[in-house]
Subunit: 263 residues, 4 copies
Amino acid sequence: MTSGIKKIVSVRNAHFGSKQFTIIAGPCSIESSEQFSQALQGVQTAGAHLMRGGIWKLRTSSDSFQGLGKEAFQFLREKLKNSDLGLVSEITDPRQIEATEDFLDIYQVGSRNMHNYALLQELGKTKKPILLKRGFAAHVDEWLKAADYIIKAGNENVILCERGIRTFETSTRNTLDLNSVVYVKSVSNYPVIVDPSHAVGIRALIPALAKASAAAGADGLIIEVHPNPEEALSDKEQALSIGEFTTLMNELKTLLPVLGRTL
Amino acid sequence: MTSGIKKIVSVRNAHFGSKQFTIIAGPCSIESSEQFSQALQGVQTAGAHLMRGGIWKLRTSSDSFQGLGKEAFQFLREKLKNSDLGLVSEITDPRQIEATEDFLDIYQVGSRNMHNYALLQELGKTKKPILLKRGFAAHVDEWLKAADYIIKAGNENVILCERGIRTFETSTRNTLDLNSVVYVKSVSNYPVIVDPSHAVGIRALIPALAKASAAAGADGLIIEVHPNPEEALSDKEQALSIGEFTTLMNELKTLLPVLGRTL
Amino acid sequence: MTSGIKKIVSVRNAHFGSKQFTIIAGPCSIESSEQFSQALQGVQTAGAHLMRGGIWKLRTSSDSFQGLGKEAFQFLREKLKNSDLGLVSEITDPRQIEATEDFLDIYQVGSRNMHNYALLQELGKTKKPILLKRGFAAHVDEWLKAADYIIKAGNENVILCERGIRTFETSTRNTLDLNSVVYVKSVSNYPVIVDPSHAVGIRALIPALAKASAAAGADGLIIEVHPNPEEALSDKEQALSIGEFTTLMNELKTLLPVLGRTL
Amino acid sequence: MTSGIKKIVSVRNAHFGSKQFTIIAGPCSIESSEQFSQALQGVQTAGAHLMRGGIWKLRTSSDSFQGLGKEAFQFLREKLKNSDLGLVSEITDPRQIEATEDFLDIYQVGSRNMHNYALLQELGKTKKPILLKRGFAAHVDEWLKAADYIIKAGNENVILCERGIRTFETSTRNTLDLNSVVYVKSVSNYPVIVDPSHAVGIRALIPALAKASAAAGADGLIIEVHPNPEEALSDKEQALSIGEFTTLMNELKTLLPVLGRTL
C-alpha cells in the first residue's frame, strides 16, 4: 500500500490521482428531470469532470424526502446519453447495483455505509470505480480496511473521500479532517478527494475549504451544486448556486498551477 | 412516544420492559456445534432468558473470522428445538432474514448498521422483535429515528440497546453512555437494554458496569459469555467465562429486588 | 499505585475510599448568607457528610455571575464554626489558598483547571484533601498524571472525581463516563467519586445516575442541591431541591447495603 | 464583533490580520543559550516575523522537562536586544507576566489554559498582544468568550490560534479544525492563525497543512522549528529542521500571492 506508485483511477475525462484536480459537482438529490438538466448544464459549463446526484437518499428521518429511486432511471438514461459528463451516485442496497449499471459511471458508498461490508463486497465484484466516503466516526485505519473489502473482492478502482467527522464541535455540521487526507496519502496509494459541502455544511464557508483541500494535496472535490439552492429538497444550506460554483472554479484555475496541478 | 404506557416486548420467557431484568447471554460468534452447546447449557443454567451468538460477523478487517454463516444453520435448528432459550443474532444483509426466520427469536441490528435504513425497513416487515443497537457515534435522536424506520414499516417490537459510544478516551474500548439510557427512557416508551461487554471491552470491568446499568434503570443486558474465553475467535478480551457469568447473575439476584425488579 | 491497599482520605465525618459512600452536597454557587444557611441545614438533615458551594465561579461568559468571592468569607466562617459539616470549594487561583485555609475543609480543582499544573503544585504544598475533577476532555492517564503533580509536591490526600466528558452527544450536558471510574479503581488506589449533576445536567435524570455510580463502585457523590433551584444564579437546570435530595438519600440507604456499603 | 473592519494586531514587523501572512517560528522549549541563538538565526534568515520558544512548559507528566524558567531570562534579554525578531512565549501563571514584561513581545495562552479566566483577566490588564490558543476541546463559542475576558479587562490586542482539537481519531496527534478558522473569521474580526505542528504532530505532514491553512484564509502560522529536531527536549516528532522550514517558506512565497497575500 505504501509503494511509490500512486494509483490513478480513470473514467471518461476524469483521472483521480493524476495531476488533474478532479471535480465532481451536482445536487444532493436528483429531484426532477428539469432540475437535473439545469444542474448538468451548469456544472459542465463551469468545468466539472463528473456530475453527482442522489437517486436514493439515506435520511435520518423516515419522513424526509428519500430520493426519486427508479422513477429517475428513464430521464437519467436519456440525458446522460447525450452528455460528456458521467454520473456518480450512491448505492444503498446491493440490489441497486445491477439496476443502475448501464447509466452510472461511479458507485458511491456513503458515510453511513462505510461499515456495510456486505455492500462493499458486492461492489468489489463490479468493474466500476467506487467512491468510498469515510464513515463520519471511522478511524483512518478502518477506512483503509473498508477499502480492502472492495479490493479483495476484485475491484482495485477505489477513490477515497474525506467528508468531515463527528466531533464535539457544533458550529459547523462536521469537522473537516484534512489531517486524514495528508496522512492517508502518506501511507497509501489511493486517490483521496474531499467533500467540503458535508464537511462544513454552511454555503459561505465551502469555497475557502475547497481551496484548503487543494493546498493540502487532495486529488479533487465532490461538491454540492444546485440550480436553485433555496428550493433544494435536501441539504439546501450547503448547496452552491451555479454562479457560486463557477466563481470557485475560476479561483481554482488560478490556484492549482502554483500547486503543480490543473483542472 | 412519550405517553405513560411503557411498551413490553415479549418472546418466550423474556419480557423486555417489564419488571423482569432480561438477560441475553452467549458468545460473540458461534464457532462450532460443541461451543454453541456448551455456551447454551452454561447460560441457561445460570439463568439467562435468551441466548446470543453471531452467525455473520462484521469485522473491521476482511482477514478476520467472518462467522460460520449458513454452515451453522443445521446444528442451530437442532439444538434450539430442544432448548428453552431462544436465539438472538445479528442480521447484516436483507437476504438473511428469510433464511433464518424459522430458528431465530430476535433479529439484532448491529451498531455499524443502525443507519442502514434499507435493512431496517426490511426488518420492519417481519413480526419478530428487533434489537436495535445504537450506532457507536449516533446521537440519541438519530437512534430514535432509526427505530421509527422499523415501526413505520409495520413492526412495533423494538428493543433499544446502548453499547458504548466512540469518544476521545482510549483506556476502554468504548464509552458506556448510561446518560442515554436514562434519557431515552424519559422521552420514549421503548425497552432499553445495555451491552456492557462492547461498552468497556475489558472482562474484569464488565460486572460492575452491568450492575450500574441495572441501577440506572435499564431493562436488561446483552452480555458476551464463552465456554473458553481464551480461545474465542472474536472479542476474547471481553467474554466472561461461564463461572464469571454465574457469579454476576448471583449478584444481580441480590441487587435487583432493591431496585424493584427481578431476574 | 496498583498495590492492594486502597487509600482512605478522611476529614471530619467523611472517609473517602472506606466502606462509607461519601456524600458532598450543596449549591453550585454560594449566593447569600441566607441561601447558604438553608442549603447547609437541608443537606445536613438529609445526611450529607460534607457541604459544597462555589465562592469563585469559572464561567464561560464574563457576563455571568462570577461568585461572591471575599464577600462571602465572613458569613462562611461564622456559619461553619457552628456546623458539623465542613465545606468543599473550588480554588481557581493560587492566591486563594491561603485566604481560605481557615474555613475550607477540602480544596476542589475544577474540570477546567485539571491541567493547571501551577495550581496543582501549590495545592500539593498544603495538607488538606484535594478533590481533583477530571478535565472534561482529559484522558484517564492525564487525570492520573495530574494527581501525581499534587502528590509529588507533598500532599497524598487526593480524591478523584468523574464529572462527565465532552463527546458528540448533545442530548445531555456531558457524557457520564462510568467506565473511567471502574477503570481507575482497577489501576490505582485513589478514592473516586462522581458528580452526576454536571455529568448529565438534567435534574430528573440525576438520581438514576447517582445510583448507577454507587453500583459501579464509586466511593461517593458530589451533587448540586439548592434550597430553591428555580432561582439559582448558576446551573439551575441541574440542582436538586432539598426534598428531591432527601428522597435520593433514602433510596441510597436502601441500595447501599446490598453493595456492601453504608451512608 | 461582526462589523466589517478587521482588527490588525501589530508588533515590530508583524501585522496579524493584514495582507501579511505572519509567521512565528522557533522551538517548543528554549533549552539553552546556544540552541536559542541557532534557532533565532535560522528562522530569521528564512523570513519569520517573530520567534517562538517556551520558557515554562505545561507537561502532562511531572517527570518531563518543565522548561528553563528564570534561568533563561538573562540570555534571552541579551540576545533579543540585538535581534530584529521579537519573542512569543507562553505564560502559565499570573506571576510570570511582570517578570517577562521587558523582553517578551507577545504573551501566549496555551490550549490547556484557555479556560483559566484568572490568567486571562491579568493578561487583559497589559498592553501587549495576547496569542490565545483554542482549548483542545473548546467549542468555538467558548474560545470567543475567552477572548472577551481579555478584552473586557482592557486589552483589545487578541490574536486567536487554532491548534487542533481532540477527537476519536488517533492516527494524528490532534485534528486540525480549519472549519473553525473559516467560521471564526466569518463571525468575528480577530486575526486567526494556525499551529499546524501541534495540530498534526507528525513532521512530514506539517508543510501540507501549513499551505492548507493559508488557502483557508488564516492570517499566519506558529510553527515549531528546532536547530536539531532529533535532540529536542520536547515535541521532537513535530519540529521542522531549519532546512525544512526554509523550504516551506519558499513554497509559501510562491503560493501566497495567488491568495492575495504576502509574507
